[in-house]
Subunit: 338 residues, 2 copies
């Protein structure tokens, strides 16, 4: 008996069908993947004096499990692109292009095409190009319906516009930008509570929000690019912290100089999802701010004299004045906790 | 009972231990990852007139399973970097930097550090920088000892030096460069034969090679950068095809213009591993050349008048004259098969 490549669990024909479906999906979007080449090409933009590339790789963690449970595949692609965009935005960069990695145990063309549609949509929204990707069928590695995705972004920034925290000074204000939900962090804990402890289903109603558990947990990681990049161009922001895994306590110190602390006052309304998770898990407030974004997905450090420029976002309750920089030793001090 | 993040299967402390181990590993290599920032920074090199970035994302497929079976973790990192380097080399680019994604069900600091050491070693060998990476612990997604890795590379090439196949002409010669083994393709089939059908173990001897099955199957994907890039700089190569998944039949057409065929003569010695796999699987010769690299990992298209420049590599049996370009319709014709 001959063992063909297909017998071994790898199905080249289904791979080709996926390529056809992906081509059809991509034709709907401006940013289009260069299928079939060994690598994607991108012309370096002119007009920069000392340009730096800023790159980041990311995943979406076990948020994927919820997407798989709910059979909704297009939003995780957007989560991944937006997460990547926010990471390089935090260093001052504008995204140029994105590449993906998609791995599964058994390739299903419709699923991979739906995920890629999410990539394409988010790339278009963030004014960057979906430059390429790798689709891997790895029999025996993932359960049949499971898959994993990773993303890689490249952006550009002028040398003197790089945000590295060095411009932060005593008295600077912290502006917190609203998150849409858990973004891409804290899902292992959230899954334990929702699905193991409370035995809820993705289609169950969540509290009195009018939304299902699946909808609340799959809310797309927000990209702050369109909201924040205009302020970067006008030099109105001195530093940014993207609140991802490790929450406030681990992400703020990534850019805070050693000789300052930040003093944070929780004067925004913590979304019901976070209150619920804290209550049901029994974790401390401190652990909550080390695990979740608690309703704030990005924090901007702003000179006191510039704080009024955020008035419009503040009036719309999209951004809040949440703290200030004081003399110290690199610590995050949250009112009522520290 | 409180459910902490650690109870949920995510262990931040082990993550921090991994970071410390990785820092120690990286200190041994020139190229060092920028740990702790939101993204990695890379200054765009000067001296290019119309530079293009070339990027690619890749995985190593189920070769990982063999690494995991053998408990050898440092070579797959090199496989991944070299695979990425070869992909963008095929477009004429020189690598600048690499980023990784590492995902596992249960983080083990020693394993991730060993994999990262492979990344760092290969980056140094390919004169590029390990710029950053994402390490994800995803409980319930991977079996406890399993992990997956993805790599992202960015390279640079002057516009008029981009290799896209358009310079290929009738009469050009094909120079095949020796592979070290399966590289990163055909492992699902190879695993079926070695471990399921023949019930061999990674520590068993393979034929009379003096090597074990594990050693033969884990041979590192060769990077052709140091061997081939000097010829690219001197414009001695018109096109390159990286022989990966899909073998000769799918990779050569990626760069072959529609109005030519290539005629290939198998006048190199096919390594015993491929003969063994073909014999034991019972697949046809055609399917073999569509699945495996059959001993040739990269094919260069060279003007007839320049063929002598490869004499040195040819004398060392590192490269072989394996075919030529004829008028046709984009087909790959292998002597004795087509």
């Amino acid at each position: 008996m001959a063992i063909s490549y297909k017998d071994s669990g790898v199905n080249i024909d289904e791979g080709n069908r996926a390529v056809e479906l992906i081509k059809r999906v991509l034709s709907k979007y401006k940013s289009s993947e260069q299928i079939g080449k060994f690598g994607g090409m991108y012309k370096i933009p002119s007009g920069y004096k000392n340009p730096y590339l800023i790159s980041s790789s990311d995943g979406v963690g076990t948020k994927l499990k919820i997407a798989i449970m709910a059979g909704i595949y297009n939003t995780v692609g957007q989560d991944l692109v937006n997460h990547c965009v926010d990471d390089i935005l935090a260093m001052g960069a504008k995204p140029l292009y994105f590449l993906d990695y998609f791995a599964t145990g058994k390739l299903k063309a419709e699923i991979v095409a739906s995920v890629v549609e999410g990539f394409a949509k988010a790339c278009e929204e963030n004014d960057c190009v979906l430059l390429g990707g790798e689709t891997a069928e790895m029999p025996g590695f993932y359960a049949d319906n499971d898959f994993d995705i990773a993303g890689f972004i490249t952006g550009i920034v002028e040398e003197k516009k790089v945000l590295d925290g060095s411009k932060i000074k005593e008295g600077d204000l912290l502006i917190g930008f609203k998150s849409t939900g858990l973004h891409t962090n804290g899902y292992s804990l959230a899954r334990k509570i929702f699905f193991e402890r409370l035995k809820l289903k993705v289609e169950d109603a969540f509290s009195d929000t009018g939304k299902t558990v699946g909808e609340v947990l799959l809310a797309i990681h927000k990209s702050y690019f369109n909201e924040i990049y205009p302020y970067l161009k006008k030099d109105k922001i001195k530093a940014l912290s993207h609140i991802t895994g490790g929450g406030f306590y681990e992400n703020i110190p990534r850019i805070l100089p050693d000789n300052f602390d930040v003093k944070i006052k929780v004067n925004w309304e913590i979304p019901i999802l976070f209150d619920f998770l804290v209550k049901e898990s029994g974790i401390t407030k401190r652990e909550a701010f080390r695990t979740f974004n608690m309703g704030i997905g990005m924090i901007a450090f702003v000179d006191k004299k510039d704080s009024s420029v955020f008035k419009e976002l503040s009036d719309k309750k999209e951004a809040f004045l949440i703290g200030e920089v004081i003399k110290g030793s690199g610590k995050v001090l949250i009112d009522g906790i520290d």
